[in-house]
Symmetry: D2
Subunit: 401 residues, 4 copies
């Protein structure tokens, strides 16, 4: 056991941090300004494309993809601390082409896609030319239970016909979003976890209606956006099916492991930055004749935050390590644990920071409120806490005590 990052990782960390300092932090507000110039969903702030170009030039591109000729060849363990750094700024992941849901979708295409699918969709995604969305959750059912899904994917000659309504198809608001991976049922009579398939649906296919984008605690998350999409008799070539009929659940499972690690690491980065912001703030302010940083209650918030961040990070790194060494399946308990731990930890840390900032904390003068709202969704996305806790308990109960 050792707790040191390798030299390779440390070198990447330093380059990434330098990039953040030089290009990203100073441009966060510029990004918002550019976004607000026009309708927030119709254009992409030019600064984003500039910085993506810059990241490519610096070789900080597609760091996320493990075990693949397409990526940077990093293991999950190696990528994790880099992903954490990206999580410190809400605009950073996209700049490095490491943003959800593209990373997950690229992994799906890389693992299960045909050559044709790769050529057509994976390549432009890896190049950062287009973006993608993932259409899984449905408004009418508890989608944490995948067997509840109602959208149908029915074979009709050389095509599949898709019908159903999805929401929280995140990223579909972006003008660059060209492709959706849609989960649906092709055979409701098959065994429970073989009823579902996944299929590629270009967003300009007739019958694809983006009905609206859903806000998150008042934030629109433009230009990304969380879309409600109606798939109304949408026809795509049969070759758009991923892997095969009935493989939807298996793909979803495979997709989730890395996706969760990424979310957790970014979340830890967000928490770290919130703690730093809190420390800076309380050293500056005074109340009742004493600096806030000298007040016991505030010190307790800082200590608990530090304690919780450290623990969450270590557990996430261990999960990444296990994914690399024994595989996503064997690491399932650890993945479930960090899925519960990281967002809850970050919400606590950020909420303490909000409190320390006073009224400023709930506004957008600082990134705390937005960050909190964003991370709050992670207690629901990819399965709510309670579903993961149940899974953890089941793994535990199966052990030979």
């Amino acid at each position: 056991m050792n707790f040191e990052y390798t030299e390779k990782v440390q070198e990447l960390q330093h380059r990434l941090e330098a990039f953040m300092e030089e290009y990203i932090y100073p441009n966060e507000s510029m990004y918002e300004e550019q976004l607000n110039k026009e309708d927030r969903f119709s254009t992409v702030p030019p600064i984003m494309e500039e910085l993506k170009q810059k990241a490519k030039e610096k070789g900080l591109w597609n760091l996320f993809l493990p075990e693949s000729e397409y990526g940077a060849g990093l293991t999950n363990m190696e990528y994790a601390p880099l992903c954490e750094i990206m999580g410190r700024s809400h605009i950073a992941p996209e700049i490095f082409n490491c943003a959800a849901p593209d990373t997950g979708n690229m992994e799906v295409l890389e693992r299960y896609g045909t050559d044709e699918q790769k050529e057509k969709w994976l390549k432009p995604l890896l190049d950062g030319e287009i973006r993608s969305c993932f259409s899984m959750t449905e408004p009418d059912v508890a989608s944490s239970d995948a067997t509840n899904i109602r959208t149908s994917i029915v074979r009709d000659g050389d095509e599949y016909v898709i019908n159903g309504t999805k929401w929280w198809s995140s990223g579909a608001g972006d003008p660059r979003c060209k492709i959706a991976i849609v989960m649906g049922k092709n055979d409701p009579e098959a065994p429970k976890h073989e009823q579902q398939s996944m299929i590629l649906v270009p967003l300009d296919t007739p019958g694809v209606h983006i009905k609206r984008v859903l806000p998150v605690y008042g934030y629109d998350h433009a230009p990304h956006g969380h879309a409600e999409i109606e798939y109304d008799n949408v026809r795509v070539p049969a070759s758009n099916l991923i892997w095969g009929e009935g493989k939807g659940f298996a793909i979803a499972q495979g997709r989730l492991g890395p996706g969760r690690i990424h979310h957790c690491m970014r979340t830890i980065g967000a928490a770290e930055r919130a703690l730093e912001d809190m420390c800076t703030r309380v050293k500056e302010r005074e109340a009742f004749g004493k600096r806030l940083s000298d007040q016991g209650v505030i010190q307790e918030w800082i200590a608990d935050s530090r304690i919780e961040i450290e623990q969450a990070r270590l557990l996430t790194l261990k999960a990444a390590y296990m994914m690399d060494t024994v595989g996503n399946k064997e690491a399932k308990a650890e993945i479930a644990m960090i899925k519960v731990v990281a967002p809850n930890m970050a919400l606590k840390v950020i909420d303490r920071a909000v409190q320390a900032f006073g009224a400023a904390g709930v506004s957008d003068d600082y990134s705390l409120a937005a960050k909190w709202a964003n991370i709050r969704t992670l207690r629901l996305a990819d399965g709510p806490d309670e579903v993961h806790r149940r899974a953890i308990a089941k793994y535990e109960l199966r052990k030979n005590h």
Copy 2:
């Protein structure tokens, strides 16, 4: 001791509930629609003025004002359960002319205002013709400590000159908002709690610049709005001073008691509705072969929510009772306690509801996320939790143990 509302109160509760059912709940979405038709801060949804008229007709108007010829003659104890009902809908308090910060401002004018001030500002406020704001918090200092305040109110002949920047002047975004009560220092050399004064400043006075409205977790709270206001050499007649020089702190203290009770009761109403919504939802949904309402973890959320609401309500009612019987000053420990208890309780209850609603919960399809964001500000407004906890401890330590 008895835990029954009086017949008078019960009768008012029934009338109020009937009004909510008939006029308010069905019009909540209409209010939003009307607001979105134009710039959200430039007009007031017509349905609001219609419903205000209706409430006046039904005699459900100005119920909040205790011990005054102007109000409905209800005690705090009698008003509390009514205020709770209003808290169930975010548009309700204004409909009954019982919305913050107007209620607090009206109480200040009623208690400390001159006849001229009452005629000019209290009357139209009581009639619901204008609205008001309260300019206390400042961006540059920890305003929970009133001695930190920097805005100056300086006598110059027959006028006072006001200089300073305030923010979280809630309500100043509303086109009907005509008057601000501004807290500032007139004598920085006076004893600590006699340096401050409060003064009436019409918003159309030269030098009053509303610089922006601040969002709360992404919500703009239009048309109300939380404004940052610059007071730049603002001159008002000396007769606009409230009560007298150096009375600012005393007025603030007097203002806070009832204001807190109102906030707490509304918060309890909001929590009650969130719990109802959660119960309704979990009875409808199914996951993993079982209704959510039959799952132990969800049942625990419901039980804990019920337990916490009941306790918070009783403590708030007791505080109201003490304000009526022994006075706001003697009730200060209880007022501080509910100030901590009610928002924290409601945030927990609503957050559980969000979780039970899944992704829908963080959106605006339901009122939960907006409600949470709104109530989150109450852990900061009128003093953050930690300041109140400190006060509670001091009262406790002073007892003769």
Copy 3:
């Protein structure tokens, strides 16, 4: 609604408090000394009988029994604040003949007992001449589900024959304990809640074997004691059956309401005293150049304790009020709530006090550790928290939302 105790109650409170000050607090350590003189289970400290006599003389005797010719004629609401005072000292309840499980057993006999049963057992219990135990919990099953109970009560001619093993028959260690109320099944084929009966078993009946007394976190709770009792072919006259065959569950339900109120009120008294002790302590000690009472974290403990105690008391009083006005059955949700709230609250308050006392807190130099251990059992006795939470959720879900 009003939050004032009646004059009658206030007068009793004062008399009770005076008695506590004069006779009980100063004799707590004497009680322990006398107990330690011999085997802790073989004799009763003489001071106990002296003080019981004193309490009788002062008319502070049997205050617990509502609606009965035998008791002091107090309602639950009136008794509650008195019971709280008794809860401040672990030796007090017995002194006033208001100790568990005697109070619950007396209520059972008063309500459901025959004249003969009353004459033989209720009378000496009311006189404080004997004590009693309640044999319900069994070691081999989850007894929170009464249908799990295995002890059998079988009619055989003029007798019932009892077989089974019970534990946590609290009080059976006391040499004065003469009678047990035993719960068992007389008809395993009857409807689920009509299988059980309760029967009176004198402890000197052949076949009654007290196998051991169980410690609670290292405390033996002598001379009271929590006994494991084997009932081995125990024969008692058929007239010892209470109420009738199949009535066991109904009696248990009836017994629990008042029992829980009493436990909760005593628990609140215990928490109050712990908070007082904590305040006294932190005013005396200094660390790192500051009195503990001036340290923010300690102040937060005090504030939270005060807040939690106030709320728990009000909810318990409300439950008592409802028992008096609408009956135990209608008050079942409130009774379940306080059953969860009061012990958990007290455990938190006492644990904070332990922490504030440092190492002294875990020892027996102060009563905190013993108090904590004692109250910890209340999260299990009469049904564990989780069973009550489930019940509360069910009541809530049944409401017409």
Copy 4:
């Protein structure tokens, strides 16, 4: 970074686990029986000495001592997982000669002792022939602040004279305990952290009075015992001083790092076993028609316990790693963190297990209650949580944010 124990460690783990299975778990109750045969403080259960012999034979002896010719040559990182295993049984640490406070005292002697001191005291301690205690805490002051200490150590010719009262001198109850390390002030005028010295005091020195042993939540912890010791004009040779005058604080600091790691690792082992016990139990019991292990609330307890244990273990291992690589001083933040994390985590896990066991959990039929009480002291020993939290906050605030 990697999360695998080395082969060397794994091999030791297996041998240790095998020893636990074969010799320790089966003899836990025998130990208690032997202890209860006579006065619990006058003899040592023979099984203990037998098992110590066995452990020596198997080469599982003195595993704790890092960087020393006397120990097994394990690093903190290597010892940590072994120490965890020992923590699973309350009798295990002593069997391997790895019990507190001997380990800490041996480290002190190894690092700071003279050859004479080593020969006389370290050797028999390493051989398990005698035991020792550490006399630091005082009843009259908040000892978490070492500058509060009042015991005096005054030079008088060739001797030092010691006066003062200590308590929580754990282990002094044991008939084999021969030596105390006593902390006192030799120069109250010196700089704050150079006033204290540590000195070796044989317990049979005239003037050493063991006044009593203090219980912990009703447990006497015999034969170990937590003693209150009066040092009344105790004279020892000047050569008994450790390191030098004024070095007491420095020694205490050095002693604490490893001591805390050991406590934390044992605590994690205790929590693991509690979780295992809970899992076993809930699989066996049924209530309301369902196995406890199938109930959502119980599953949540299990999941949260697993999550908390994993995180605490990783953080503790990281602290051990840092002690080995950058030194105890650089690892101070991590050491403080685990000091807060591990006991609080274990208390939660064990308390959930108690609840899952029902009334059995609070008794001594299972080890849960005793374990809880024991670990509760660790939130106070070596500095209470709040002191460590404050330190963590200070380290954090000093970072260059």
